[in-house]
Symmetry: C2
Subunit: 333 residues, 2 copies
Amino acid sequence: MSRLADVSDTKRLLDHLYDPVVEELRQVEEVLRRELRSQYPFVDELARHSFHLGGKRLRPALVLLAAKACGAVKPDHLVLAAVMEMIHTATLVHDDVLDQASLRRHLATVNARWGNETSVLLGDYLFTHSFYLASTLETTFACQTIGRATNTVCEGELRQIESRGDYSLTEEDYLSIIEAKTAELCACCCRLGAHYAGASPEVEEALTEFGHCLGIAFQIVDDLLDVQGDEVTTGKSLGTDLEQRKPTLPLIRLLSQVDEKQRAVIVAALDSQTPLPAGALEDWFAGSDCMEYSREQARLYIERAKTQLAGLPVSAARSVLERVADFSVERRH
Amino acid sequence: MSRLADVSDTKRLLDHLYDPVVEELRQVEEVLRRELRSQYPFVDELARHSFHLGGKRLRPALVLLAAKACGAVKPDHLVLAAVMEMIHTATLVHDDVLDQASLRRHLATVNARWGNETSVLLGDYLFTHSFYLASTLETTFACQTIGRATNTVCEGELRQIESRGDYSLTEEDYLSIIEAKTAELCACCCRLGAHYAGASPEVEEALTEFGHCLGIAFQIVDDLLDVQGDEVTTGKSLGTDLEQRKPTLPLIRLLSQVDEKQRAVIVAALDSQTPLPAGALEDWFAGSDCMEYSREQARLYIERAKTQLAGLPVSAARSVLERVADFSVERRH
């Protein structure tokens, strides 16, 4: 994930895109501010801190844009958008709980300031609060949809942990993992937006599939950007995924194109040490089509995503969903 | 917590007590076995492993006994009992995610075998699965009740982290923390048992208060046993709470009875190092009434708990609830 990249540019661009739901997003921020409070000062400090962790607000925007593309944003949508952002934040906080081995690397805020135990509990606090908030709606639909989706996300994250150092992972395995760990939550946002706007089952499915494809493309680009690294800000050329021995699409593509001997050299470099020695793999990546190939795969998913919107009436929200899709694949950080 | 104490004796005693719901508990085990599975081998291994972590099955038993004391155990109760056990297991798994500083101490299974990241994700997997399972019932009542209770638990756990090394913590503060982190979930089990058995609002409240008082007493005794230590099995005399600088009732009582100078000596010993030097504090505890006082406080809560059962018809389940209450305060490990 390109979490260490500069998100503020991305955020600025997205803010511009979110225009048709800007007022509703402001109301979601209000819900989040109201909910992320506690009468106990320490819990309150943590809850307020977590309010600022998400940043891009992509998930609330998807709920609201899907709703608006199907009809209108209703009060339930504001609650659900806040729920999805809280869940996303919980996963970010838990992502930052580190194993000893990787403690020196990407030190993240909650973890760095308050330690592992507090990070785990803050994530749990956000998870349980979001489930409670979802249960304040009239039916169990949101709880069921969100419960199933978040469970799939955890399953995907566990499968990704298992895949570390497994350089025999296929493109199909990789896609199946990112479908679970990333696409599922985006799909869930779009489904909730459509469902609570009273969309027909067909439209609800189409928007769910839109979110699913968007999520896959988004993660492929995240992984691609991670391997490309961020030379301007870090002066380094390879990202954290390779150092964590996480096989993502560019590496899987590279390994599929080299012979056994070359493969052994690359795997040895990956397994050698953390951090990777500078220059150990750059030439391999530069000499292959793996970056273009990965972005092309993401583009194919974005095309499939946009096709799903064909049945919706023309609207500002629908256009923005298309532009969010295009943006997610063309972005450079 | 006396997690390191020998739970098998406790379990044996409780198993005997659970007699009136033994068949239903077996069905709950079946639900757990069925639910804690995954098509992905690594996730499946973890899920199956977590099935064995809970052990005492106190929470499912509370759901079932409360149900039976109010009428009959229904299919929803089996689901809810499994949900509550899964949530309890999730909190156990997350309890075991350690800060670097305490890594050498109580090494716990998931954490020791699979590391912090996997433990966090397995806990999340169990949390989200339990919420999903609760949402399969007809109304949002279970989701709301469970969502609120688990959120309160997290808040209580965070407050306890904050209280570490705070030797000015009062008995009232301590009770307020254990009400949140322990009593809330026991209360929730009893409420769900009563509610889904069709109990009147008054009976539901009485059983909720029963669970609340039972949970407080249970935690006081847990904390008391931790300070007493387990000389037979560990050969050591003071428990982990003091080493983690966690002020629990015996210490709070002790500190309230000494003068400023004595207090300074005790606090210095507590702050000095981990592990505590042998014999540093034993005499202080032995010379005060703090152990008897703590158990007496627990007894008062148990009396209050049992009073709540007065309005229920005489039944085997009601008797067992009384005996579980008595057992929880008289147990020696």
